[in-house]
């Protein structure tokens, strides 16, 4: 079972790489754009999550890419539905 925390850690680690920041200082509720993630980097994150968790996201799912916590909710709900 994949926990919310593991998804959150993965996202923060990847965003830290993208933004040249530190994972521990990233605000989980901040809008992704406000922490330096643009729309193409959000698409990169989406593909990373698809590969990591064997999920498939559609265009409509990009609207959930607002904050780390909203993405975590999207991923965990999809994983629960797939289980």
């Amino acid at each position: 079972m994949i926990s919310e925390d593991s998804v959150r850690v993965l996202l923060k680690r990847e965003i830290a790489v993208i933004t040249d920041g530190k994972a521990e200082t990233i605000d989980e509720n901040a809008h992704l754009a406000d922490i330096g993630v643009d729309s193409l980097q959000a698409l990169q994150l989406l593909v990373l999550l698809e590969r990591e968790y064997a999920l498939t996201f559609e265009d409509v799912d990009l609207k959930h890419f607002r904050s780390i916590n909203s993405v975590v909710s999207l991923v965990t709900s999809r994983l629960s539905a797939a289980a």
Binding site: S39, L40, L43, L62
Partner: protein, 165 residues
Amino acid sequence: MTQSRTNGNVVSESHDCALNYQEVSAILIQRFPLMMVDRVCKCEPGVSLTSIKNVSGNDIHFVGHFPGRAIFPGVLIIEAMAQSLHILDVLSAAPSVDAGLTYLGNASVRFCHTVVPGDQMVIKVDLVKRSVTGVIGNVVVSVDTTVVAKGELILGRKTASDGAS
């Protein structure tokens, strides 16, 4: 399905989605000296595409890159990869949907060998993801059977509604 051998490269040709130079020109907005796709040999919309760029000693890039030692610029190999991905993106769009203008957002490319006049680059694109914001593809460029460059490209999308002309 047929096969042709050109410059040592065996290229499968699926003629239902092969594009000649004029058809490629209708998709790309680039023109001389930056049109980096001569022909599309094979395309499966939404999945993959194989295109060709013939490198000639007459290409203008060789005037300065480099005098006395012609090497095809790596940035133009990336341009060929990006244009091939763009063509696949356009061909993958529904006929009624404007795929829009794409621009290179990111390129993680490794160069393995130089490309010189007389080479024929075969550009193989595998689509990773298409979305409203952009398109991601894995691209391998080879000459004969040698891989000369490979990597992942991300193209951003600008549609007419974004103000693109």
